[in-house]
Structures are given as structure tokens and as C-alpha cells.
């Protein structure tokens, strides 16, 4: 008996070992400030790394946007405005870009920002050994020349209009040159010039940031502390927001959206997203290689119903561009919803072949949309089957290798339309749709710096796509963020999908 008790005691003690920190942490959490200057930001997943050069994951940029700055940045009106660079100039050929840096910027470890940091950051992005997934966006930069401490020049092999947008994106974060040289662990200890300094990261749990007192924008940021809480279960996220445990829920979709709308403690922040939701069609495969079949499929889909039911509302689009984009053109009248026409196509042209809809199961709305497509196509007389695959399989099988009939995905926007359209019309994309006029137009737009001329080029490409239907273009949804009703100054750039927390504050009660 005594031995049994002693064993139980040992087990018990080892378990109780964890309790002090639970109690301590719990006590800390209870503190209620009179004027709140601490933000708890609910994040739907854990970033893989905090190194913005090493990933394309939105979660990294969502958190690191507040730790790093970029040379230039987008403003709410979609223009690109100065940030670390006070001003810049581009030569007539578009091959020499000169940036003048601010002189009052300090890294979090106290050293002032110089041109050398910009050079080191871009070289790091280009380094084949480092293998940044964003490397291709900098491929045209042949040389980064430091003219003086605060002037840096990018020498391009040819004109490349999207570069400015690239430099304004999260992956162009400027890292300190000295730490890059030392091989600092940017994966888990990020250090930049941004409004908040990194405090700690408990993986799969939280990321803590604190105010950068020396931030170059005077009086910013307003918050003292930002805590990103990782909450993967959407239902929990919604409850946490309603009960005040978190102040921001980074992504809100149905059914939580309608729940949150009813809560007085919650305000829903809406912005048109830069996403284009599509039912992608593999145009390499028989019978999908025929335009009539694609039109039949397109005609079978009630796009507004899909947007409303699966994606919580949004506007229907007729081509490969989001509604809010300055380059958007309305082609929705080109192919109306027409179940009758779809039925005749299904009966006459598919030869009874079964179409498989491959669904990525990482994002629930896509699965729901897939179920809707399945039913709509079935009703029109198509033979359909649905196959769920996980995100990795989707990426390699569907996206890289083009092994699918139909698939559901949302194409994210970038600051520059090139980010979305690059490569379309060539045989490089997963839909396999080849169209030389489109390729030509996209390439012409890439090397053209004048926005109006670019618009004309892109218009050609977008019209070709709207006519040729390599996708069923469904719509661009609204991006919903759940906010504490007392929160002010929140801004989410929907094209970068990251929140700007510099002006966020709580309204005094």
C-alpha cells in the first residue's frame, strides 16, 4: 500500500509541477487596465517562421508587418507611399531605381538604418543558398548599389513595373545587415525597424510584441503591447471575441459571422477582399479543352448563390480580377447563368465522362462551395464526383502537376495585378490554358511603367480570359475581421491581407 501511495504521490507531484506557472499566468491575465493599451489579436494559425524572407505564409506577414518596415508601403487608397524611403526616382528606361532613406530610423537593437541594410536584405532574398520562396520577384535586380549611407540604387536588367509593389509587400522587409552577417536566427527572433518590437513566441500559442518607443512615425504606435493568440477552431475564436478574451478575430466566415453580427460587443470590419474565387478548369483534359463545355459548366453555376452560401456574400466577377481593383473590368454579362444551356452541353458534349472536383480541405468555405458546385453540375446533368485532398496534396498534385478536372480555390491578389496574372496564358499554369494574346498583353503591361497604358494591356488579357473561361470566375468575397466594438483605427490592407496596428487604440470607456 505504501508503495502504491508513493507512486501516486510522485505522479501527482510531477503534474502539480506545472501548476505554479498556470496560476501565475492566470493572475497576470486578470489585470484590467483603466485605459486599455494592450491588444489581443486572435490569429487563426501559427506561423511556420517569423522570417518574412523565408515564407509566403500570410500568418507570418500578419504578425511581422508590425515588426518590420519596407522601403515603401501601400496606403488605404491603393497608392504606394514612402515608408523607410523618403522618396525615390526611376530613370526613363525603368532600369535604375534610386531610393533615399529616412535618416531617423533605428533598428530595435539601437543601430540606425543605413543603405547597407537594404542591400543586405535584397541580397539575402536573392541568395540561392537561402532559397527564399519570393526570390523570383527580385530576379531582375542585377545589382544593389550603396551610393551613400542613406541612398541605395537598384540596377535592373530591364524595366519591371511590379517591382515597386514587391518592395511594398511584407516579404521585402528590411533586416539589419549586421545580424544577417552574424547568422542571427530570424526564424524565431525577428528584429526590424517596425512599430513594435518582438518579445516572445510560444509556438502554437502566442506571439507578444511591445511598443517600439523610437519608432520613426512620431506618436505611433498607440498600443503598449500586442499579443497574438493562436486559435485554430473558428467557433472558439468567435466565442473568445464575444466574451472579450480577444479583441480581433483575423478571419471571420460563416456561420460564425452571423453569430458575431448579433453581438453588441463586436464590430465587423468589412473590406472588399482581393480574392477571386474560382472553379478552375483543367483545359488540357478532354472534354474540358473545348470552350463550349467550359461555357456549359460556367452556365450551370449560380455564382451569386455560391458567394452568398459558401463565402458569406460578395460580388460576382466575370474575369480574373477582384471587384475593388483599379484594373477591374466588368464582364459579368458575357456568360449569364443558364441551366438550360448547361443541360444541353452536359447531354451532348461530355460523352458521359465523370468530372472530378478536387477540393482542398484546408479552408472550409471552399469545401462548402465544392458541395454547391457538385450539386449544381449534377442538376445540370453532368456526372460529378468530389475528392477532398489536403493542402499539400492539392499544391503538388493539382497546382504543380495539373492532375485534376475541376478544382476550387481563391486566387489572392497582390499589390500589383502582375502578381495575379503572371504566367497565365502560358503552359506553366495549373489550368493549362495557352493563349498567346494574353501572354503578350501581360508581358507588355509588366514592362510598362505608365499606369494608363498598363490598364489597356491588362484589359486585353482580362477580356481574353473572360471569353475563354479557363476558370469559372465566381466572385470576390468580402473580407471580414471581427473587432472589439471599442477598437478604433484598425486598418487591414486587403491586397496584402495584413493588419496595420500603428493607429489602433481603444476608445476610452
Amino acid at each position: 500500500m505504501r508503495s502504491l501511495i508513493s507512486v501516486l504521490l510522485i505522479i501527482l507531484l510531477s503534474l502539480l509541477g506545472g501548476i505554479p506557472d498556470i496560476v501565475e499566468a492566470g493572475g497576470r491575465g486578470e489585470v484590467r487596465e483603466s485605459v486599455r493599451d494592450r491588444l489581443v489579436f486572435g490569429l487563426s494559425g501559427d506561423p511556420n517562421t517569423l522570417d518574412p524572407h523565408a515564407t509566403t505564409g500570410t500568418l507570418t506577414f500578419q504578425t511581422m508587418r508590425s515588426v518590420y518596415d519596407t522601403l515603401v508601403e501601400p496606403d488605404p487608397d491603393g497608392r504606394i507611399v514612402p515608408a523607410l524611403a523618403e522618396s525615390w526616382s526611376i530613370n526613363a528606361e525603368g532600369t535604375r531605381w534610386t531610393f533615399h532613406l529616412r535618416e531617423d530610423v533605428q533598428f530595435h537593437h539601437g543601430r540606425a538604418l543605413t543603405a547597407e541594410d537594404v542591400r543586405a536584405s535584397i541580397l539575402r532574398l536573392q541568395d540561392p543558398g537561402f532559397a527564399s520562396p519570393s526570390a523570383h520577384e527580385y530576379a531582375l535586380i542585377q545589382e544593389v548599389r550603396v551610393l551613400d549611407d542613406h541612398t541605395v540604387e537598384l540596377i535592373l536588367s530591364g524595366p519591371h513595373a511590379p517591382l515597386l509593389a514587391t518592395l511594398a509587400s511584407g516579404w521585402s522587409a528590411i533586416l539589419p545587415a549586421d545580424l544577417i552577417r552574424e547568422g542571427h536566427d530570424f526564424d524565431s527572433e525577428p528584429l526590424g525597424t517596425g512599430p513594435f518590437r518582438f518579445e516572445r513566441w510560444v509556438r502554437d500559442s502566442e506571439i507578444r510584441l511591445s511598443r517600439n518607443e523610437n519608432y520613426w512615425q512620431p506618436g505611433r504606435p498607440l498600443l503598449r503591447e500586442v499579443q497574438f493568440r493562436i486559435i485554430t477552431e473558428q467557433a472558439v475564436m468567435a466565442q473568445a471575441l464575444m466574451t472579450g478574451r480577444i479583441d480581433v478575430a483575423d478571419i471571420v466566415v460563416e456561420p460564425e459571422l452571423s453569430l458575431l453580427r448579433q453581438s453588441p460587443a463586436v464590430r465587423i470590419y468589412e473590406s472588399p477582399s482581393a480574392l477571386v474565387m474560382v472553379l478552375a478548369i483543367n483545359t488540357r483534359r478532354e472534354p474540358l479543352d473545348r470552350l463550349e463545355v467550359r461555357r456549359g459548366i460556367n452556365a450551370a453555376i449560380d455564382k451569386q448563390a455560391v458567394m452568398d452560401t459558401a463565402y458569406a456574400g460578395g460580388e460576382v466577377v466575370g474575369t480574373f480580377m477582384d471587384v475593388a481593383n483599379p484594373y477591374y473590368l466588368d464582364f459579368t454579362d458575357l456568360h449569364p447563368h443558364d441551366p438550360e444551356m448547361a443541360r444541353s452541353v452536359a447531354a451532348e458534349l461530355t460523352g458521359g465522362r465523370e468530372l472530378v472536383i478536387t477540393l482542398p480541405q484546408n479552408f472550409e468555405p471552399h469545401v462548402r462551395a465544392g458541395e454547391l458546385y457538385h450539386e449544381m453540375l449534377r442538376n445540370a446533368g453532368f456526372r460529378v464526383r468530389t475528392q477532398l485532398v489536403d493542402w499539400s496534396t492539392w499544391l503538388s498534385d493539382v497546382y504543380r502537376e495539373g492532375r485534376f478536372d475541376l478544382t476550387v480555390i481563391g486566387h489572392t491578389g497582390k499589390l500589383d495585378p502582375h502578381g495575379r496574372l503572371a504566367q497565365f496564358g502560358t503552359d506553366q499554369t495549373y489550368v493549362g490554358w495557352e493563349d498567346p494574346p494574353t501572354v503578350e498583353a501581360i508581358e507588355a503591361a509588366r514592362v510598362t511603367l505608365d499606369p494608363e497604358k498598363r490598364f489597356e494591356h491588362y484589359a486585353i488579357a482580362l477580356r481574353r480570359m473572360a471569353e475563354q473561361l479557363p476558370f469559372v470566375f465566381v466572385g470576390s468575397p468580402v473580407r471580414y475581421v471581427g473587432l472589439n466594438a471599442e477598437l478604433r483605427g484598425f486598418y487591414m490592407d486587403s491586397r496584402l491581407d495584413t493588419a496595420d496596428l500603428r493607429n489602433v487604440r481603444f476608445e476610452a470607456p
Binding site: 456561420p255 460564425e256 453569430l259 465544392g370 458541395e371 450539386e375 468530389t386 489536403d390
Partner: protein, 274 residues
């Protein structure tokens, strides 16, 4: 004494069998007795039970919950019975081979292989195998069969070795009964009872595991229903439509109850016979 034991749980076992047969029948005839489980009605989503002719209401795409439940029974029955049965086949065969292996080399190898499978975290093994086989209801059946077979391997090996040591088996060996016949005549009938008990119990566990795999997207493929998939879909609607989770949850529980009842009943009976 034995009649007393037989009565214990006998009623439960009959009830369990009745429910199983009824479920099986309903699953087979689902096409005839309930509307199509795929038909969506976007105007009638998340209806409460007993409204607009939907006995158990509708789901988030306006599909009839009762039809999905009955059609889902098919998946659940196929997966649970199929995987447990296959596992019994694999596990028992290998277990008996292991037990009769005279030199012990094969036995040793099988044991280490078996331990290796057991050392894999169950769900991880299930996920990995399910990914290799690709998602789907038959693939899940195969996956679970592989995951479950070590349990039956162990049981049948232990039972077979017990039988081999008994006099009657040794006698039949001395009498010159062929090895194969010996296994069929003496080993199998004596190993089978315990295997049956475990198989029924595994069938019950399969239901929960299938649901977990559906939760991870590796089970039955939408829009076709399975209880696990329905549960997984319904979890988002816990607040708005709790009934959506209650029905498939209960159905899964009842099916698992039935298998457990059968397993326990068989165990009692065989215990009594011994």
C-alpha cells in the same frame, strides 16, 4: 451455472442484433424510403426538426438530415464491419502462423513487426496510410484494418499458443493429422471465439476513428454523407443548430453500443463455456 450467465446480457444482445439488422436494412433501402441526401435547398437551410416535411430538419446546405443519416449508415456500416472483419482476417491468419511456427524465426519477426505497428501512434498511422491510399470510404476501411490487425494478431497468437499446449492438440499431432487440417480442425475453432469478441469491439472503435478521419478530411468524400462527416460539418453549427450534431452523434453511439453489446455478450458466453 451457464444458463444463468447466458441470460445476463442476452436480452441486450438480441436488442443489439435487432438494431444492427434494422440499421443495415434502412441503409440498404435508404434510396427507397427517404429523399435524395444530396439535394440542396438553399432556401431551407438549418431547419429545425419537424419543419417543412423534414423529420430531423436540414443541414447547412438545406439537405434533409434524416436522408443523410440513413445514407450515412451505409458508410458507417461498411467501414466498421469491413475494417474489423478485414483486421480479423489479417490478424488471425498471421497470429496463427506465428503460433504454429516451430522454429520461432517467423514468430519473432512477426512479433517485432507487430510491435512496430503498435509503436506507431494509431492516428498517425491511420493518417499516413489514409494519405497513401487517398481519401475515401473503402480506403478508410483498409486503413483501419491495417491499424487494427495487431490487436487481433496478439489475441489469436496467445489463444493459439494456449490451444497448442493442450493435450488434445498434441494428441492429434501424434495421431498424424496433417498440419493444415490440424489448424483448421483444432486451432481455428478454438481461436475464433476470442477473435470474434475483439472484432465486435473493434467494430465499435472503428466508428469513432472513422469520424476522426472524416474530421481530418480523410474519410468519406463529400457531398456523400457519413456520420463522421456529418459530425465534422455540424461542429461549426453547435451554437445555431445543436441538433445537427446530436443526431449523427447519437447514431454513431448507438451503432457502437450495439457492437460493444455483442462483444460483451460473446465474451460472457465463451467465458461460460470454458
Amino acid at each position: 451455472m451457464s444458463d444463468l450467465r447466458r441470460r445476463e446480457g442476452g436480452g441486450g444482445a438480441i436488442l443489439a442484433l435487432t438494431v444492427l439488422v434494422a440499421l443495415g436494412g434502412a441503409a440498404l433501402l435508404a434510396d427507397r424510403i427517404v429523399p435524395d441526401p444530396l439535394t440542396q435547398n438553399l432556401g431551407a437551410m438549418l431547419l429545425a426538426p419537424f419543419t417543412q416535411g423534414h423529420l430531423l430538419g436540414t443541414d447547412h446546405l438545406g439537405r434533409d438530415v434524416l436522408s443523410r443519416l440513413l445514407h450515412g449508415a451505409r458508410s458507417s456500416l461498411i467501414v466498421s464491419i469491413g475494417s474489423a472483419g478485414l483486421a480479423a482476417l489479417i490478424g488471425t491468419t498471421l497470429g496463427m502462423v506465428s503460433a504454429v511456427d516451430r522454429r520461432g524465426v517467423l514468430d519473432r519477426a512477426l512479433q517485432i513487426g507487430n510491435d512496430a505497428i503498435l509503436a506507431f501512434p494509431t492516428i498517425l498511422l491511420a493518417i499516413t496510410v489514409a494519405m497513401v491510399l487517398r481519401p475515401g470510404r473503402y480506403q478508410v476501411t483498409m486503413t483501419l484494418a491495417i491499424v487494427f490487425s495487431p490487436v487481433l494478431y496478439r489475441v489469436s497468437r496467445v489463444e493459439a499458443r494456449r490451444v497448442i499446449q493442450k493435450e488434445f492438440y498434441q494428441v492429434s499431432r501424434m495421431l498424424g493429422t496433417g498440419r493444415f487440417m490440424r489448424i483448421v480442425l483444432h486451432l481455428l475453432p478454438n481461436v475464433l471465439p476470442q477473435v470474434l469478441v475483439q472484432t465486435a469491439s473493434l467494430a465499435a472503435i472503428a466508428i469513432g476513428t472513422e469520424a476522426a478521419l472524416s474530421f481530418l478530411g480523410l474519410g468519406t468524400q463529400p457531398p456523400h454523407p457519413s456520420w463522421g462527416l456529418m459530425l465534422s460539418d455540424a461542429r461549426r453549427y453547435l451554437v445555431q443548430a445543436p441538433m445537427l450534431s446530436i443526431f449523427p452523434g447519437l447514431a454513431a453511439a448507438i451503432l457502437a453500443f450495439c457492437f460493444q453489446f455483442l462483444s460483451d455478450y460473446l465474451a460472457e458466453r465463451f467465458h461460460a463455456v470454458e
